[in-house]
Structure formats: C-alpha cells, structure tokens
Amino acid sequence: MEIAEELKIFDKDLINNFIRYSNNDIDYWDIRAGLNIGTLIEFTNQKSKEVSSYENIECSIRTFINGGWGFYVLKDLNRKALLDGYLKAIKLAKMSESLTKNKFRIIERDPLIKHFKAGSKKKLENIDIEEKINLVKFHEKIASDYSDKVKNTRTVYVDGLSNLLFINSSGSYITQKLDLLRLFSVVYAQEEGIIQKGSNSVGGIGGYEIVETEKAQNLSLKSASEAVDLLKAKSPIGGKFDVIMDPKLTGTFVHEAFGHACEADLVLSKESILEGKIGEKVAKDQITIVDNPTFGQGKKYNLPYELYGSYFIDDEGIPSKKTIIIEKGIFKNYLHNLETASRMEVDPNGHGRAQSSTSKPQVRMGFTYLEPQDWDLEEIIKDTRKGILCEDFQYGYTDPTTGNFQFKCKISYKIENGEKKQMMRDVSLSGLTLEVLNRITAIGNSNSFSYSDGLCGKGGQSLRVCDGGPYIRIADVNVGGLN
C-alpha cells in the first residue's frame, strides 16, 4: 500500500493505543490526516501577480458518545501529540454528551481497508513551474488581444497533490492519493463608463491533461468574448416569462434551490422545505434528479480526467455511490452523512464531506443533475412565444425555510415567437422551488446535457462540486427588471 512517509506514524501500535485509551468509554472515533502540496499562479494584465507554493500537514480527531461529538485539531504529528489530542477529544465528546438532548447511536459499519489513487496521465509533480507559467501567459495574451475594450485580464492556475489517511474505531484504514487542478479566467471590458465581466473555469481530478482539453484551451477566449458582448446587452424588463435555462443554470437550480433542501442535516434542523416529503410526488413525472459523485464519469464527456465533484470515499470513510433523489416526480432520498443516516435509520449514502482534514464532515452534494428527456434545444426555442433564454449564472441564493430562490444570470436572450432575439444582461429569476419543479414544460435530450464545476460554500466550508442537466423550460417565471 502506497503511503506518504509522514502518515506512516499511524501504525498498528499507535492505533492499538487509541483503542486501549478509549477504554470502551466512547461509541465511535475517527481520525483524518493529510499531507498537501500545491501551486498557485495568478497573472493579471499579462504580469505575474502571485507565483506561490504551499505544503502543509493536517490532522483532526473526532470522537462520539451517545449524541455528543468531540473534535480536536492538531498540526504536530508525533505520537505524544496524537495521544494527548485523542484524550482531549474524548473529554470533549463527554462534555457534548452531557449537554445534548439528541441522543442516538452511530450505525455500525464493516471496516474498509483500501488504497485509492486517481490516475493522472501527465503527473503534476513532473510539470515544471515554467510550463505552468507559460500556460497562464498563453491565456492572458489571448484575452488581452481579443479587443481594445478589454481593460483587465486575470488568470489563476491552482493545483494540489494530497496524500490522505482515514482510520476509525471499526478498524477502517483508508489511504488516498488525489491530484487536483483548476484554471480560472476573468476578463473585464469597458465602454462608455460601463464595465462588464466574463468569467469561466475548468477543473478536475487528474494531472496536467486537464488544461490540454479543448474546453480548457478556449477558456480565456470565452471570458473575453462574453465580457465584450455584454457591453452591448440590454437591461431586462421585468414580468412573467417562459424561461429556458441552459445546462449550467439548470445545474444551479438543481443544486442551489433544490439540492441543499435534500441535505438531511438541514431537514433535521427544520431548515428544509422537503421535511416529511419522502415518498411524495413533488414534481412532474418527467423529473428525475440524482447525485452521483462516483469516479469513472469523465470518459462519458470524452474527458481524460475525472469530474471536479467526484470522490472515491466521503470524509467518513463511506464509498461514494449514485443516489436517486427524485425518481419520475417522486421524492426518494435525502443525502446523508453518518450522523443523519444513523438518526433517520437508513444507510449512509456517502455525503459526509469536509473541506480539509481539519474541518468536520457536513452533509454535502457531489455531482447533482437532472436526467435528460427528449426535447431538442431548437424545438424548445421554436415552441416558445414570449420567453427568455438564460445562460450561465453570476450568483444564486435560496431562503431555505421557504424555498424562495433568486438567480442572477450571466447572458440572456429574448425569445419572441420561436426566435432568439437580442442579448440582455443581469436578468434575475426568482420563484419557489417546489412550484417551479411543477412548472417545467420541456426537458432537453442527452445531446444538450452538460455540467459545470465549482466550489460550494456551507457553514464556512468550501467544497468542490459539479452540477448539471439538459436545457429546460419553465413556465411563468418571475423576472426582475427595472421598469
């Protein structure tokens, strides 16, 4: 089994000590440790702004007694510090247990002993800093040369190599080696006092091959053309419209307005509109929504790497799997971590994820999407009388207690009598999640299916995720305007 030298401290002897120290006082414990190294390169206006490198070692010890959790974070990985930390973590769990009113047991699971490794065709450790810098320069030049209206360009390259370890009280011993890469391009264009921004990113799990795909190579060109095109776009007029969402926006809707409400921790804390909805019809028959963070999906999109939101196991040692959330309109499953699955008495489905080895696992999504159906995009447009076609988003948010969401779209086009007309900017869409699910009037076919990747924030932790779907049309959406 391949394991980083620094993580070899977690040997049989140390683990036996943890077991002995627990003295059967605690119901469950797990320990995560990680050794991470990485690079960040940021250029703006074709000049380097930051060229940096990091290395860190992280560790946390989590303990559990009858509803109370203890968590201890340390950075000095030596035997004494680990055993001291372990005893402190037990004390912390005892304290939580004495105060909590939510008593429950953690589901027992079979131990998993395994090493996972993400394949990378062009290993990051073999790519010199100069090559990475040349890549960033290439993108900066394309964006800067695009138009004299381009006033500022920014390109950020980030990569990271992690060696991770997970052990727990059931005897699991899991190690992982993961390489990640993300490239990000932002372009600002300006004309007559108006500033517009175009931004795009590409990310994945794998090596340097990620930046050599066609999508990655066209990244800064896309940002530049978006920013310049948006200068001429019109402001929207408010009202009710049939809205056609592109795959990125469909993904945002599925993730932001709907997906978070499926997270079982929010259901338990009464912050979800889906409380008590299992088995109920919540959408039209054509709607199937899943979360599938498993490996092996990159090749579906002809990509030589794995999707950014994928993982082998979650941060509680549970293998990722495809979870059906809505099947043909019927609400089937919440997303769970170990705690919520234990409390709701179901099997955990691998959604206990943490930002790093020093943060606590929360219930989080992986790759959430709406399954395609049978409409061609052309057909959807032709079939729309008074509508707006919306592409990509600037930001979006949802009131969890009501499901009232608001998305600000990046680029939009008026649709009149089946024809795509002028471009608009800053179109905002709002509605109630559960109502909107029942007003979807067309779902695109698999040809139009796509996804986007990014970072999702919750409770102060930021995680890599993907979301997607086909083009969809929703009837009577509130569009915010300035009239």
């Binding site: 074709q46 000049k47 702004k49 201890y72 974070v73 939510n102 207690t401 709002s430």
Partner: protein, 423 residues
C-alpha cells in the same frame, strides 16, 4: 504554540538564507501566525459538538530587483521545512515576470498608534467548560419562546499571535483575541404554519462584552417581524434600509470599489472616468475606514505587512476624496503614495491583499422612529442576497426579509417580493 525564541531564530535563519540564495533579491519578508480556538456548536437547539484546535504556520515573500514576486508557505516549523520554503519561494520568484510597479516592502516604522483592548487575557485563558454558559443562555431562551422551533449557532473564541520580519529592518508582532456568538432561529406560526428564520451575531475583542441574551432576542425579533408574509402589488415608494440592508446595498459594494487593486485594474465603477475628487453621493454620505478604534474587531496596530493602521476618510459629505483608496505597499508604490495600512492576510499561507478595517457610514441626526414615521407608504429592507450594479447605479433583487411601511408604521412582511432601483 511554538515558543518565541524559535520564531526569532527561524526568521533570522530564513531571511539570511533568502539573501544567500539570490544576488538579485531586493526584499524578503517572513510571516508567522499561531492561533488556538474553542468552538461550541448548537444544532436543533442542543449542543452538538465541542471543539478545540491549534493552527498556524509560516510564509515567505520574496521580491527581486525587477519586481518579480515569489511566495511559499508551510505549517511545519522545523529548520529543514523553513529551508525548503525559502528555496521553493526563491524558485517561484525566479519564475515570475518583471514588474517595475513593485517598488519595495515596507521599511522600519519608528511609531505605531496605540490601539487598546485588542487582546483580552480572559479569552486567551478561557476553558471550554467556562464557554458553555454562553450557549446555554441561547438554548434556554430559545426553548422558552413559543414560536421558535429550532436554533443553530454557537460560541467561538480564538487567540492569535503573529510576527512579521523583513529585510528592511521591520520586526513587529502582536497578540489578538476575538470571541463571537451567533444565533439562527427557525420560527413557525402555530396557526398559519408559516415558517421563517431570524439571525443575529456579536463579535468582540473582550469576553465581558459578549451578551448571548441580546443576540438570541434580536434573532427572535428579527424572525417574528418576518412571519406571515404577504405578497404585494407593484408599488413605487421610498425605501428604508436597516443596518444590515445598508451593509449589503451600500458599504460592501463601495468597499470593493475603493480597494486600490480593484481600482488600478479598472474593475471598479469609481475608476471608469476616474471619480476621485468628485461628488458621487449626496452630502449626507460620509464613510471612513478607521483601523484605530479601541476594542473594535476590525482594528489592529499594524496591517498584514507591518504598516501602521490609520483612520481614513473615504467619502466626505458625498465627495469621493482624492486620497480615498485603500492601499497595501504594492498598490501604494505603484501610485507613488504611502500605504494606508490596509494589507490583509486571510491566513499565514496567503499573499497579502487589501481589506477594510472598520468601515463605517457616519450616523446622521434623524432617529430611527422619525425615519419610519415620515413614510406614508414604503418598504423597510433588512436582508437581500443581491448586490447593485454600481457602474449604472441600478439594483434589482429579491427581498429576503423586508416589511411594508404604512402611515409611519412597520406592517406586513413581504413575500416573494422583487425590488428594483434605477436612476
């Protein structure tokens, strides 16, 4: 926490090594940060998790004679790790591009303004057992409330120490503490079954200022004002912003626009047709960035590069001042002015950027009640997740929490209401 002697020795070792590695080195800077924290979390109005932690590490920033910047960080503080950090940082510096705008890192300062109450030994010495009392207050008051059905939130305290050393003889360190309490309550009307949330938090440098009772009561009131929302017809009316509303609609966008980096890169609405020295708002608007307020959470003696913090007026009675930008040493050097002491670091492992200290819109002389009682028909806006387009002055967004004002009184909360402001 590593002992102080090690830090000084490691810094000296690192800076000497940096000079030895490269003849073209202009300036180098080593930064250390150590912190310990206590965190107690409430979920479903019950204690869920008790947490203790230690964090921190070191970083080096190197600039060569042509202005190319290299940066490297580690959280492993043995001599060999520092050596590797310096060597990698040097490699990074050699790989960057020339930047004649990078003038220098800050030089030694003889004087720093006194800022009191940034450190409280009661927080530094606090035990997790003693911290429990604060969350117990939150839980008890929430339990006693008739409409509250759940609460998440908690107590967080941390104590940190940082050190900055550079080759221009700058050598400073400081100790700071911070402590905060937060409450997010979920309320449900017993008859209508309408559900909503209320939120409040308090963040302080000293423990004795923390008042859990106030925080939960404010969160409860916030939520109650928002229960049983009503949809309204299209109206055109005056808008009153609560302090929360003012932060999201006015202060945050302006803070972004006066960041010298955003400004110099032409990403700011105030940069297009350079608005410095021009009147950009009416005379009621005065905004300051004051890093010197005793005991304030945004205050500090020096910024992320060791430059003394200051009090600066940004907008004076509607006029955006010529000196109204927030600088770090890079953006200041580029413009030939002095740094305003606004270099900020998210963590030991991030390159200093620019941030606000205490960013304040000055109060006027109208009482809150008078503001409301003057309104025949209007809207009180508390929360929105949207932000205005400041290059046009337009705003369109969703009211997450807001109320109708009728004949000088706050009335029904608003349901699914969109708002647009245009000029």
């Amino acid at each position: 926490m590593s002992n102080e002697f090690d830090v000084y020795k490691l810094a000296e070792f690192g800076l000497k090594l940096a000079e030895a590695y490269n003849n073209n080195l202009k300036d180098a800077e080593i930064y250390f940060e150590f912190s310990k924290y206590i965190n107690i979390e409430i979920e479903e109005n019950s204690v869920k998790n008790s947490e203790l932690g230690n964090e921190g590490g070191a970083s080096i920033r190197l600039i060569d004679s042509k202005g190319s910047l290299g940066f490297a960080s580690t959280n492993r503080l043995e001599k060999k790790n520092i050596e590797r950090m310096v060597s990698i940082g040097t490699k990074m510096m050699k790989s960057g591009t020339e930047d004649p705008d990078f003038k220098s890192l800050p030089h030694f300062f003889a004087n720093y303004a006194k800022v009191r109450n940034l450190y409280d030994k009661n927080i530094d010495n606090l035990t997790i057992e003693d911290s429990i009392a604060y969350v117990e207050d939150l839980i008890t008051i929430c339990n006693e409330d008739e409409l509250a059905i759940s609460q998440s939130g908690g107590f967080l305290s941390s104590s940190s120490k940082n050190y900055i050393f550079n080759t221009n003889d700058l050598n400073v360190n400081s100790k700071e503490t911070i402590c905060s309490i937060s409450s997010n309550v979920i309320l449900k009307d017993k008859i209508s079954k309408d559900t909503t949330f209320g939120f409040d938090y308090q963040s302080e440098r000293t423990l004795k200022k923390i008042n859990a009772e106030n925080v939960i009561n404010k969160a409860l009131n916030d939520g109650k004002r928002n229960l049983n929302r009503k949809k309204i017809k299209n109206i055109k009316c005056p808008l009153i912003l609560t302090p929360n509303g003012t932060i999201s609609l006015i202060l945050k966008p302006i803070a972004q626009a006066i960041n010298a980096e955003t400004f110099q890169y032409n990403r700011s609405f105030l940069a297009s047709q350079d608005k410095r020295g021009k009147v950009i708002a009416n005379q009621n608007l005065t905004i300051q960035d004051n890093g010197l307020i005793d005991g304030a959470v945004g205050s500090a003696i020096f910024d992320g590069e060791g430059v003394p913090c200051k009090n600066k007026t940004i907008i004076d009675k509607g006029k955006f001042l010529k000196k109204g930008l927030l600088h770090n040493s890079y953006t200041a050097g580029k413009e030939g002015v002095e740094s305003t002491g606004n270099a900020s670091r998210f963590s030991y492992n991030s390159v200093p950027s620019i941030g606000i200290t205490n960013f304040i819109l000055k109060s006027g002389n109208v009482l809150y009640d008078e503001l409301i009682s003057d309104i025949k028909e209007g809207i009180l806006l508390n929360y929105t997740g949207d932000r205005p387009n400041l290059s046009t002055g337009d705003f369109s967004g969703l009211i997450l929490q807001g109320n109708l004002i009728i004949n000088g009184e706050i009335k029904d909360p608003l349901d699914e209401t969109l708002i647009g402001i245009t000029y």
